[in-house]
Amino acid sequence: MTRGSLPLWRYILGRLLQAVPLLLGIVVVNFLLIALAPGDPVTVLLGEYPAPPEYVARLRDRFGLDRPAHIRLGRYIANVVQGNLGFSFAYQVPVTRLVLERLGNTLLLMGTAMTLAALAGVLLGVAAARRPHSRLDAGATALSLVGYSIPEFWLGQLLVLLFAVALAWLPAQGIRSTREEYTGLAAALDLGRHLILPAAALAFRYIALIARITRAAMLEVMHQDFILAARARGVDERRVLWRHGLRNAAIPVATVIGYNYAFILAGSALVETVFGWPGVGRLLFDGILQRDTPVLLGVLLLVSVTVVLVNLATDVLYAYLDPRVRY
């Protein structure tokens, strides 16, 4: 792997080291933004009746809220470095445990949605690029526009009304059945049934986005010389399209998915809230409502780390394919 000026591993290491101050900066900014916001987390926890002042004081002491912001920040960073994300005000359990409990659910939802979006989006984009300005292309363009404009939570509600209420084909919410306690394959199938609607609601916008990008990239690639050459050699048109065309168009598509990671996570927060899906996105949403600062910070840090890593992976892929990137 020593093509070009810099070995790939040194490039990766360099980028990882750059990420450390970036993440630290994110932690500090997040912490200060939340610390400076008005309002008191303790008041949200105590119901609608005046709480005993001694109890309020004990809670403040327990959460460290009675200390000045810079001391709290210092402690927080020291904890985070050791992998301790703090203690949730609202749930009374460690944030790391909460996030880990939920992470799998979110990855499942996002993974399913993005696989669905990639498959459907690429198929739609290739089909549209094959006959530009045809009816199919116009239809795909219109669908993309609609898909990109519909808010996920609204689409989610529509899907529920159609498939759960009117047709009664699929469950309206949650991650597993309420009355049955399935195990083994039955449990997996049950989970699958609960996954379909939220994954579809989350995927819709990315089907649109990926279809648009695929179409544009395909149109550009299909006019290049090597495609002409392949055609001249008498290569089968289907093979030209999928092997030669799509392979080269795939990089921008992958890049778009990578760089949209943070938005996908934001979208999953809405979808998870609509469908009662117990994932990290909803943890973030509930954290905001309950002013659960440690949970908010923990999830934001997780998102930041994920975005940095996914961007890094995207860049590494680029660097591998095109050594000129490794300045």
Binding site: A37, P38, G39, D40, P41, T43, V44, L45, L46, G47, E48, Y49, P50, A51, P52, E54, Y55, R58, L59, R62, A90, Y91, Q92, V93, L98, E101, R102, Q157, V160, L161, A164, V165, A168, P171, A172, Q173, G174, I175, R176, T178, R179, T273, V274, F275, G276, P278, G279, R282, L283, F285, D286, L289, Q290, R291
Partner: protein
């Protein structure tokens, strides 16, 4: 004659058969699961240290109080089988049910009751503390008897001993612990009809039947599904994924649709009153003048608020304590009559008070997450514009709203909602009593009137309903004149459940007594 005889026989047979099937319908069937919707995870599973709604919903099935309240507020035995109240209202003697076991197998004793009242609910519970402030001592002459002596009588004391206010907790699990951070708060052990099984945060809490409970417990499991989105809670009820959505979690705008569904039963009317009102900051400029406050009352169209903000499911308010407690309502000072909507009278009063048209600009603070209150705030802004008052709407996140309104007192107008449990002395007196500023959910208007303070204290100590009505009538007259707070409407509770559930709603609180409900066909 023969024919008639046959017809009669056939008829009687049919009647007998129908009666038989009706009887089968009415015979409680054990088994099955009841699923209830919660809007958020409970913040703890210790009901003794919070008044949080979700906590009460789950733990009312795990823990018990000395007494419980029936559907119309009747005081029924629970952990106590009988009680005597001394004629002076200062001594309560409770006889405990014998042979009650904690879910971990230990036997309940009077020491548990004393510990729960003194060390948990009396110290940490926002509502019970109000009642407990009147208690002088709790003593246990033997393991089956608890005697409570009062410093001053407190009329609603007995009602406050239910599981929502004074849950009885196991002394052997909490003694010597820092209650607020005990691990037991997440692993509850009670004496109630259901035993805690599991809690998947963000998804569900599962309880299973307590085989040793002293009354029949019908459903095998109670499942609490956490569904943050209000529209989804209604949908889950329609699809049958959820069996029960209580008023607190039910979107009023979905009620007409749910009523059309023959598989769903909707119950109107809430035994525990709730009031929605507008606080007026009496410390500020022209608002310090009662005439100006009365002008606001005339200018605000409360019927419009009920129709538009509450989809008609509410009653325009009649007085400072609503109409939920009959003895606290006085027909002579009924706001729907003495403050009937009249922009003309409002304008005249403002002129009398020396407030020139278009000279007054007020801020209106509200919790942005509460759609009905946000709608009410908008209607109030439009109403006040008609009389030349400009209102700036300030929607805020809940914790910021609490800070601005209660802690800092930095507002002109705000819309809020309070409940008062089983007595106005528990939740409504705090609106009007003189209090130092800065406490959440206590007198935010800055209103202070020694006569009102005296009368309300007296009302709290007077058990006789007739006597109390006279005291509240005096308070109502003063408050109708001073008007630190304009009551907008009395809420009408709406609970919804799947129709296959039988023997629904056997407690005053819609979250109570689910062990008596059974799953029919």
């Amino acid at each position: 004659m023969k024919v008639i005889g046959r017809i009669l026989m056939a008829l009687s047979l049919a009647v007998w058969l129908m009666a038989g099937s009706a009887a089968a319908q009415q015979t409680p069937q054990p088994g099955g699961t009841i699923v209830m919707a919660l809007g958020a995870d409970p913040e703890t599973l210790n009901p003794g240290i919070t008044t949080g709604y979700a906590v009460g919903a789950v733990t009312a099935n795990i823990f018990s109080g000395l007494i419980r309240l029936g559907p119309r507020g009747e005081i029924l035995p629970q952990l106590a089988t009988s009680w005597q109240v001394a004629p002076d209202g200062r001594t309560y003697t409770f006889t405990l049910r014998r042979g009650v076991r904690w879910h971990d197998g230990r036997t309940l004793s009077a020491a548990d009751v004393k510990f729960s009242l003194e060390e948990i609910a009396g110290k940490f519970h926002g509502r019970f503390r109000i009642a407990y402030a009147n208690v002088e001592s709790v003593s246990t002459p033997n393991t089956g008897t608890v005697v409570i002596r009062m410093k001053t009588p407190f009329a609603p004391f007995l009602q406050m001993l239910d599981t929502f206010n004074a849950p009885i907790m196991a002394r052997h699990l909490f003694a010597g612990e820092d209650i607020a951070r005990s691990p037991r708060n997440l692993q509850p052990v009670g004496t109630g009809p259901y035993v805690f099984q599991s809690w998947a945060r963000g998804d569900r809490v599962v309880l299973v039947r307590n085989p040793n409970y002293w009354e029949p417990v019908y459903a095998e499991r109670l499942v609490f599904r956490i569904i943050p989105n209000a529209a989804q809670r209604s949908t889950a009820l329609e699809t049958g994924e959820v069996d029960v959505v209580t008023d607190f979690y039910l979107a009023k705008t979905d009620v007409p649709r749910l009523r059309q569904n023959k598989n769903i039963r909707v119950r109107f009317g809430q035994p525990i009153p709730a009031l929605d009102f507008m606080f007026i900051n009496t410390r500020r400029g022209p608002l310090a003048n009662a005439k100006v406050r009365r002008a606001l009352a005339f200018a605000i169209n409360r019927e419009q608020i009920v129709a538009q903000a509450m989809a008609g499911i509410a009653r325009p308010a009649r007085g400072p304590f609503g109409d939920g407690f009959k003895y606290a309502y006085t027909p002579e000072t009924d706001y729907t009559r003495i403050y009937a909507y009249s922009p003309e009278r409002a304008a005249a009063l403002l002129q009398e008070a020396g407030v020139a048209r278009d000279s007054l600009r007020l801020s209106m603070i509200f919790d942005a997450a509460r759609a009905p209150l946000a709608a009410a705030a908008q209607i109030i802004r439009d109403n006040l514009r008609q009389v030349g008052i400009t209102v700036d709407l300030v929607p805020l996140e809940r914790s910021v709203m609490i800070d601005r309104v209660y802690t800092k007192g930095d507002y002109d107008l705000t819309v809020q909602s309070f409940t008062s449990n089983t007595d106005p002395a528990i939740g409504y007196h705090r609106i009007y009593l003189t209090a130092p500023p800065g406490q959440p959910f206590v007198n935010a208007t800055g209103y202070s009137n020694p006569e009102v303070d005296r009368l309300l204290a007296l009302a709290g100590q007077t058990p006789a309903v007739g006597e109390r009505a006279k005291i509240y009538a005096q308070v109502n007259t003063i408050l109708a004149r001073d008007l630190p707070t304009l009551i907008l409407f009395d809420e009408v509770g709406v609970d919804a459940a799947r129709a296959h559930l039988r023997n629904l709603w056997q407690g005053l609180d819609a979250r109570d007594a689910w062990w008596l409900t059974w799953v029919g066909k």
